[in-house]
């Protein structure tokens, strides 16, 4: 029966292309939005994961960076260094602000790193240095896209900074990153006794979660998280912020896919109702006939799913060429979710045609030409 479903579907190539194309675009909508959000999560959490730190110590109750503010005494750095299992600890100051270059404003996470920092520095440098010197800033590709090069000047927190290096792979459509010296950060904000976070590297063979627990037990008014947990929390914040958009867009994709599917399957089936009458007259059971319709729906959805996924992969490759900040990441959970949606779409799209077939009288074959 699947054979007949396939032949019915592809007898008119134009109709088949329209049906599969419509479903593919609907799936692409679902996949793309998920990929953009996953890419955003990946980029924002990417900095945390690539700092080289194992534990993040923040103000009590703070478990991430995005949309969060943390202030702890800088003395905590020494307290953390003294805890068993900690190999290294360093302060990192952080602020969400804007960078201005040639009157263009860019939202940025401004990161203040101590001299000789081994944690929190940008891992991939396109040109220049990874370590900012005094009065210098290391920025991400967001500014490079605008033509910024090493030696140019940008304005941060009211002061001019020379671009000392250009990093890669850290900026997202949501924000960029700017690394300056901790001294400069302190000078700009006028307070050298506090820090935003303390980054800690644990000794070999020691669990980060275990060390985090020790820090929380030993240092008052701080929350310590392993980098894994800190990054996951960062992802969760981004996800929570985008959940409603994602739900709306997924629903839109679902409804578009359903409408296209239902219309195409209905059209294909209704145009062949006399043939279904013939099948019934020849002795096909209802199960056989319904199998053909479900087969058509399943084939259309499966092809639409595959084409939609392939188009999204292609788009994810092309996106950074169009906009370096646009990073799309297709994830297995997203594919699994779309697969589940596709089953529902196929089932719902087949309901109306099945009702039509159920009502067709097999005696129709003795009264009119069927094909």
């Amino acid at each position: 029966m699947l054979h007949l479903a396939q032949r019915n579907l592809f007898q008119s190539r134009t109709k088949a292309v329209l049906a599969v194309g419509g479903v593919a675009l609907a799936f692409m909508l679902i996949f793309s939005l998920d990929a953009v959000l996953a890419g955003l999560e990946g980029r924002i959490a990417g900095f945390i994961e690539r700092t080289g730190a194992d534990v993040w110590v923040a103000q009590s109750g703070v478990r991430n960076m995005h949309m969060a503010s943390s202030t702890i005494p800088r003395a905590v750095v020494d307290q953390v260094r003294g805890i068993d299992g900690v190999a290294e600890a360093a302060p990192v100051r952080y602020l969400t602000n804007v960078m201005v270059k040639d009157d263009e404003r860019y939202l940025a996470y401004v990161i203040g790193l101590p001299e000789g920092a081994t944690m929190g520095i940008p891992m991939k440098i396109a040109s220049g240095d990874a370590y900012p010197r005094p009065g210098e800033v290391v920025v991400d590709g967001a500014l490079r896209q605008e033509g910024a090069t090493v030696g140019d000047t940008v304005r941060i927190l009211g002061s001019d900074f020379r671009i000392g290096g250009l990093a890669e792979g850290l900026a997202s459509t949501l924000s960029s990153l700017a690394f300056i010296r901790l001294d400069d950060f302190d000078r700009l904000l006028g307070n050298a006794t506090t820090t935003s976070y303390v980054l800690a590297r644990v000794a070999p063979g020691v669990s980060a979660d275990e060390v985090a627990a020790r820090i929380e037990a030993a240092v008052p008014a701080v929350t310590a998280s392993s980098t894994t947990r800190f990054a996951e929390q960062e992802r969760k914040v981004v996800r929570d912020m985008s959940t409603e958009i994602a739900v709306i867009m997924n629903l839109a994709g679902f409804l578009i896919g359903l409408a296209v599917m239902a219309l195409s399957i209905y059209t294909v089936t209704v145009s062949r109702l006399p043939e279904f009458g013939l099948l019934k007259a020849l002795g096909a059971s209802r199960r056989h006939c319904y199998g053909v319709v479900l087969g058509q729906a399943a084939l259309t959805v499966a092809l639409g799913f595959g084409v939609g996924l392939a188009l999204t992969f292609a788009a994810s490759l092309l996106a950074p060429l169009i906009d370096p900040l646009l990073y799309m990441q297709v994830t297995w959970p997203s594919v699994a979710k779309a697969a589940a949606i596709s089953l529902v779409v196929a089932g719902l799209a087949a309901i109306a045609p099945i009702a039509q077939i159920s009502a067709v009288d097999p005696a129709i074959v003795f009264r009119r030409k069927v094909a």
Binding site: H3, L282, S285, A363, V365, F366, A371
Partner: protein, 301 residues
């Protein structure tokens, strides 16, 4: 007559009720023997199609009984009828009614697949049937690429796919030209005679009388008369027995389509026996006559 393949008794079909009631088929009884070809003729609206639908288990009778190979079809629940149609009946339609998206081979194979035959076996069976019907070069053609005669042969192969005991044909020559129509009729007759399948044909086509063993006239939902058919041993035409020209030779009665054929036969009877394909009660007598005539000819020499 052997035990009938199909036995219909007192079949009636009513549509509507009370003042709007229409009796499409009225108290019809019929028996069809294995290998018999029965032609049902009648004017439009006489109830032919309604009767055909009931015989094919596509429409329930209001009254009466239909038996197929001893099984009472009219008593079976609705859910069992598709399986009966699939395995016991073959259908041949006026408009061929092939599935447009499938090739000739697939149109035949799908019926076997519906009956549970594995795809590979179904295709092999379809290939054999189509090859036997001379379509071995058209197996993978879509219906739109086939001629009318080829389409009808595919339809006949499809009707035979599950080895039915009974074939129902609705106006099978209506969309075929005279020559192809005649070929189809000969084909149906040979299927009936060689394979022992019973065939009921509903048609307006007078030429089909030639291949029918019996012609029934349906009018106002009732059979008005039944006509037995005989074969003219001279021209091989099938002729209504009542309208045939008769002659007695060597103690046997023979029927002819015309006086010309009768006179030609009586002038030299043995000339017509060797190629005679007549079947029925005269066949043994004819063969014996050929033997004696040949002996007489030898003695004269």
């Amino acid at each position: 007559m052997n035990a009938p393949t199909l036995s219909v008794s007192h079949l009636t079909k009513r549509f509507g009720a009370a003042a709007t009631e229409v009796v499409a088929v009225r108290d019809v009884s019929l028996e069809v023997a294995p290998g018999e070809v029965v032609l049902i003729m009648g004017p439009s609206g006489s109830g032919k199609t309604t009767l055909l639908l009931m015989l094919g288990a596509l429409l329930r009778a209001s009254e009466g009984e239909i038996r197929l190979d001893g099984e009472v079809l009219s008593a079976l629940p609705e859910r069992k009828l598709p399986s009966i149609r699939l395995r016991r009946f073959g259908f041949v339609f006026q408009d061929f009614n092939l599935l447009s998206a499938l090739s000739a081979l697939e149109n035949v194979a799908i019926v076997a697949e519906l009956a549970g035959v594995r795809s590979k076996d179904a295709r092999a069976r379809a290939t054999t049937l189509l090859t036997e019907l001379g379509l071995d070069r058209r197996l993978h053609f879509l219906p739109e690429k086939l001629s009318g005669g080829e389409k009808q042969r595919v339809a006949i192969a499809r009707a035979l796919a599950n080895g039915p005991t009974f074939i129902l044909a609705d106006e099978p020559t209506a969309n075929l030209d005279s020559k192809i129509g005649h070929e189809m009729m000969r084909l149906l007759r040979s299927i009936a005679k060689e394979q022992g399948r019973s065939i009921v044909i509903v048609s307006h086509d007078q030429r089909i009388k030639d291949i029918a063993d019996r012609v029934l006239w349906l009018e106002d939902g009732q059979f008005k008369e039944a006509t037995a058919m005989v074969v003219d041993p001279v021209c091989q035409m099938r002729t209504e027995q009542g309208a045939a020209v008769a002659a007695v030779w060597d103690g046997e009665r023979f029927s002819f389509c015309s006086r010309g054929c009768r006179d030609e036969f009586l002038a030299a009877p043995y000339r017509f026996f060797a190629d005679a394909e007549a079947s029925g009660p005269h066949e043994a007598a004819l063969r014996e006559a050929v033997r004696r005539e040949a002996a007489l000819a030898g003695a004269r020499k």
